[in-house]
């Protein structure tokens, strides 16, 4: 536990001292800001169904940040360590492979949460400025951020996995981007199939389709099935990462 804390502190430190963190933060703030602004405009120009929250979390700008964040914040994790060779000094000190993986994973999750704070502030500030004249449904907010967090847990694990596969950060980023996109498209495809009245897919969809999850969570429907799905797959992907790093040691 002590080792984990030391490593976590180091990882957090290198996150917050790296320029890339601030580039990502700026990018995410920009995308979320635009998504938020666009939603406000939509609601301003014409009365429409859905609240500010549902519009914001279904806007293309939200998806833009969804697809860019993960490769950017995870590509460094193991690739850099392997490139510099510091993984050798790290794993010949009294450090377990699991401690190394969890410290990096948890640090990334913490950074990911920080990335979403400004967007939450958008809603708070908006509510405050309009003095409560617009209603922002708390349930929808909780739902949205729950799904953003759970999908984050899963996608960060995928990023860790991609980064453990290669020394090259760019390759790691492309790999994790492709995997995340593939998963997303698979879900969308399922959704399409179940739209075609294929009953056996309807059930699967509730697990698989990220796009559906975002829609339903943003409208305040908190479903435990996707949460379980994401969390258990996170565990699976992290243990795969462990296998890769240990297997690497067996081979090279």
């Amino acid at each position: 536990m002590r080792t984990f804390r030391i490593l976590l502190a180091k990882e957090l430190r290198s996150f917050f001292l790296s320029p890339i963190a601030y580039v990502v933060l700026a990018l995410v703030m920009l995308f979320n800001g635009v998504a938020f602004y666009a939603s406000v405009r939509i609601l301003q120009t014409a009365p429409s169904e859905g609240s500010l929250v549902t519009w914001t979390f279904n806007s293309p700008w939200f998806y833009l940040s969804y697809f860019t964040i993960f490769p950017l914040i995870t590509m460094r994790l193991f690739s850099e360590e392997q490139k510099l060779g510091t993984i050798e000094t790290l794993l010949t000190a009294p450090v377990r492979t699991t401690e190394m993986i969890f410290s990096k994973y948890v640090a990334t999750v913490i950074f990911y949460c920080v990335l979403w704070l400004p967007s939450l502030l958008n809603f708070c500030v908006f509510q405050w400025i309009t003095r409560g004249m617009t209603e922002i449904p708390t349930g929808q907010l909780i739902g949205s951020y729950t799904i953003v967090l759970t999908m984050g847990l899963f996608n960060i694990a995928i990023g860790c996995f991609a980064s453990s596969l290669t020394k090259n950060q760019i390759v790691a980023a492309i790999l994790s981007f492709s995997m995340i996109l593939l998963h997303f498209l698979l879900g969308a495809f399922m959704l399409y199939l179940s739209g075609q009245n294929n009953q056996q897919f309807a059930e699967l969809t509730s697990y698989f389709a990220s796009i559906q999850h975002i829609k339903s969570f943003a409208s305040g429907l908190i479903d435990t099935r996707p949460i379980i799905y994401y969390v258990s797959f996170t565990a699976l992907v992290l243990s795969l990462t462990h296998q890769v790093l240990d297997f690497r040691r067996w081979k090279t």
Partner: protein, 313 residues
Amino acid sequence: MIDVKNLTKRYVGRTAVDNISFQVGQGEIVGFLGPNGAGKTTTLRMLTSYLPPSSGTVSIAGFDVFRDSLKARKQIGYMPENVPLYEDMRVKEYLYFRAKLKGLSGKDMRERIGKVMDRCGVTDVRKKMISSLSKGYRQRVGLADTLVHAPQLLILDEPTNGLDPNQIRQVRELVKELGRDHTILISTHILPEVEATCDRVIIISEGKLRASDTPQNLVNRLRTAGTVSLEVKTDPAAATEKMKKVVGVRKVAKDSVSEDGWCRFTLRVEATCDVREELYNMAAANHWPLRELARHNATLEDVFVEVTQAEQV
């Protein structure tokens, strides 16, 4: 301290380390030599539990490197080849990080870090970013890191690689000094350094153990021990023929012929006999003007060459 039994490492399509066994006792300084690609780094990585062996066992201070990995690792200070360091940290910060990882804390840790920074000469760069250090300083930071938890055993993979002669000498002094209260296994290509510091030498080549003894014994046992250099003024071809016939000379090589007729020869001679007198007499009898006749004892370098490329000697 180190007990290696039948250690083997196979990579896809090649065997990097082939059934090596050796021991290193408490307090010994052992040089670990071999040509490029011999498997030194691979062996050291297996000793430090970074690489698992294909077969065989390693135990460090009684702990099996794979079953009691964490305990074994605590005994070791390991400096990998090329000294990997985190570029985005300051020297002091890095050493604190490493010291904490290795289980130090509080006042003890601060004192220890101060001491190793002094010892390795990095106190005046402690606030610098590691990415801005020169190679020699990086090497020293790496060394400070290996010493920080006061391990019993130091394993250094080419610690003097890329240093200037002054720094090589400093590292040599440091190794000697550390050798008083540490066990050291050091891999290097600088043989005079090994001769000056090591109690014992292990030579491997193509993954196989070729020799393991004190430098002195290795040199003494060498078949072609030593050379004689000779400079005479004569016809080189005839002189070569004559000298080859002298008992104890194994090989005659003509180094150079100057414009005014002086020829330099290097003769490989056997360890047991001194041929200088006979060479002198030969020169006198043939009226060759002689201006140099000197014997050089064999060095570890000769041992290295002979052991690692046996067929060419």
